[in-house]
């Protein structure tokens, strides 16, 4: 007998034949657990929680302002004015704002990565990014600075709401769903939190709308 058969046989024997439930039915219901109470202003909650988790947050009314906000952020921190961005983000006026941009997946030596976000989640101030041809996962990961643009109308209250939106808009899950809540960090040495472990040292979230 194979390991698979042995393991399944042992589990089945311990359970007994009567107890089995229809797991497909249980899954289809997508029953939600208890949701923590949240205030109504989702953008405010999102910004506050993101700031608490050490992200920088900016807000603007127009998508067209984004390149200038990025340029100002990079200049102020004396960061390089060259960035890699999602192909989906390429059409914004980066050159006019003085930013050299390449639309592609990130490489190990890229220093600034610019992405959009599928949704923002107000409960924890979290960005939700989906991988894809136009939205490579490395752009939010390899560079030392990650800048993410999220539309105010796409900030939902909870992860449960995000699953509903994903099922409606995408159907199936993409290869990678990445929830990002601030710069990468480690507390492995003496339990002291240090920002910038293997991923970005800083995250700027620009809320548009």
């Amino acid at each position: 007998m194979s390991a698979r058969e042995n393991i399944l046989a042992r589990i089945g024997k311990a359970r007994g034949p009567a107890a089995a439930v229809d797991v497909d039915l249980a899954i289809r219901r997508h029953q939600r657990g208890p949701i923590p109470p949240l205030e109504n202003d989702l953008v405010k909650r999102f910004s506050e929680q993101a700031t608490r988790l050490a992200s920088d947050v900016a807000q603007t009314a127009m998508m067209a302002d984004v390149p200038n906000i990025v340029a100002g952020y990079l200049r102020k921190r004396q960061l390089p004015m060259n960035a890699v961005c999602w192909p989906a983000m390429a059409p914004l006026g980066w050159q006019d704002a003085g930013i050299g941009i390449e639309a592609r997946a990130a490489r190990g030596d890229d220093l600034v990565g610019i992405t959009g976000a599928f949704l923002g989640i107000a409960e924890t101030g979290t960005l939700m990014l989906l991988s894809g041809v136009q939205t490579p996962a490395t752009v939010s990961l390899l560079p030392e600075t990650h800048i993410a643009v999220v539309e105010a109308g796409r900030i939902v209250a909870t992860m449960e709401q995000a699953w509903d939106r994903l099922r409606v808009e995408w159907g199936a899950l993409p290869r990678a769903v990445n929830f990002i809540s601030g710069p990468s960090r480690t507390a492995d040495i003496e339990q002291t939190v240090t920002l910038g472990a293997h991923g970005p040292y800083r995250v700027l979230i620009i809320i548009v709308g």
């Binding site: 997508h30 657990g33 109470p37 894809g132 472990a197």
Partner: protein, 468 residues
């Protein structure tokens, strides 16, 4: 991993005398214990979420085979290959075969306690593969050739000075004890390793039956790198880690980081499903998922079944007065603290870990903080009972208990015996009325005196009060 749980008492004693370790353990308490308390206080419906999480885990465990089959079906439909392994050795063999089949040589690993169960690194290195641990804590341990001492903070036992010495020796760079500098140094040393790797190995915090996905929580980002850059990803996990739906895993995620490190959410939560799509520039071409039993299915239908709810947050060890004082290495296998004292005897044999179920004061704090309400003291008590039933306790203890049991069933003998013993002890104690030394229990008397009985026995007092 080699089991050394039989040396618990000696190791615990050494660790109690190790000043460096004692200093390191103090930090764990303030950061993790206080951090958890604050994070729980911020979740107004914590108890409700905790009840729901417990129900989710119980529901899965009662129908584990059904959920695993559904997981396998969904994962396979998305192009992943699902393997089943009964033992750690089987996992090692499967990973080695995958490496051979795809011609892989350079491995990057993110933290996986299940791979520690298997002793995977040594097995792969013996096959000629380069293995690089990339979680900062695990990387430090790999350099130091040490096992982890905590399931969440594996290097909690080391000070920054010790890490600075290690880095100076291994990296040949200028020594620094600045924690931020040490982290940057590790990042710079490990980044080329990520970029060159062709095999990424990770664990899984959960696997999701609905979607056939593997979920990984990390703070450092190494878990994302190891599962995104190499062309093959192997995820290794225990069969009990399955949850039904994305909604269910969301409920569990409200508890895991809060209980572990006091975070409302970890920096990264990655849900990985299938292989890279056509035209996608990053992501693995091949995705293998190995489901390990290694003693888990044997717990089903026994008193220990609730242990399978465990989500590996580490709260029980952080709050355990025994763990807080002796650290994780004394427990002698992968999992320390109260959860380890249940898992180690279950996985490696009760006879190989006799002291672990007894390494508890039964203060109950582990059950109080457990996010999925595992009754850890009850499980430990059950293991103690089993030790006695299976005659695994040392013979003097067994003989003493048998003698006591014989006496206790004979009231006249018991009354006479205790009366004689009380008198004898009073006489022997002399004018000090205390014992500095008692043969056979020197461990007990080395730190305190035993007061000698000075009056009459309880039975005598009871009798005389009733008759007066």
């Amino acid at each position: 991993m080699q089991v050394t749980a039989m040396h618990f008492k000696r190791k615990a004693g050494e660790n109690l005398r190790n000043e460096k370790l004692q200093k390191a353990l103090e930090k764990l308490q303030t950061k993790f214990v206080d951090g958890r308390a604050a994070a729980i206080a911020e979740l107004p419906n914590f108890e409700e979420v905790r009840d729901a999480a417990t129900d989710i885990r119980d529901k899965v465990i009662r129908n584990l085979d059904r959920y695993l089959l559904r997981f396998e079906q969904e994962a396979t439909a998305r192009g992943a290959v699902v393997h089943w392994a009964e033992t750690g050795d089987e996992v090692n063999r499967i990973v080695a075969e995958i490496a051979h089949q795809h011609g892989l040589h350079k491995v990057v690993k993110s933290k996986s306690m299940v791979s520690e169960e298997c002793g995977l690194n040594d097995a792969l290195e013996s096959q000629g593969l380069d293995v690089l641990e990339t979680d900062l804590g695990e990387y430090i341990l790999q350099l130091a050739h040490e096992p982890p001492s905590h399931i969440v903070a594996p290097v909690v036992h080391k000070s920054k000075e010790e890490i600075a010495d290690l880095f100076e020796e291994k990296h040949q760079r200028t020594r620094t004890t600045e924690i931020a500098e040490l982290c940057r140094e590790a990042r710079e040393v490990l980044r080329p390793g990520f970029l060159a790797a062709d095999l990424g190995i990770s664990g899984a915090n959960f696997i999701i039956a609905e979607t056939g996905s593997v979920l990984i929580v990390t703070n450092e980002g190494n878990g994302r790198l190891a599962t995104t850059l190499p062309r093959v990803h192997v995820a290794i996990t225990g069969i009990e880690k399955v949850v039904p739906t994305l909604e269910d895993v969301t409920t569990l995620l409200r508890l895991l980081p809060r209980s572990a490190t006091g975070q409302s959410i970890t920096n990264y939560v990655s849900i990985l499903t299938g292989t890279k799509e056509k035209g996608e520039s990053d992501g693995p071409e091949h995705f293998h998922i190995i489901l390990l039993d290694n003693g888990r299915s044997k717990l089903l239908g026994t008193e220990l079944q609730p242990m399978l709810r465990c989500i590996r947050c580490g709260a029980c060890m952080n709050h355990c007065p025994v763990y807080q004082n002796i650290g994780g290495h004394a427990y002698g296998w992968v999992y320390p603290g109260p959860m380890g004292s249940v898992l180690t005897p279950s996985f490696v044999g009760l006879e190989n870990a006799l002291d672990l179920p007894n390494a508890s004061t039964f203060c109950g704090e582990c059950a109080v903080v457990c996010p999925v309400k595992i009754p850890l003291p009850d499980l430990l008590r059950h293991l103690r009972t089993r030790q006695v039933e299976q005659q695994l306790r040392p013979w003097p203890e067994r003989a003493a208990l048998r003698l006591w049991s014989w006496m206790a069933q004979r009231p006249a003998v018991y009354a006479l015996g205790t009366r004689l013993a009380a008198r004898l002890l009073r006489v022997l104690s002399g004018s000090a009325k205390r014992f500095h030394y008692l043969p056979g229990v020197t461990g007990w008397t080395s730190g305190r005196d035993m007061p000698a009985p000075t009056g009459r026995t309880f039975r005598d007092l009871y009798q005389s009060r009733r008759s007066s």
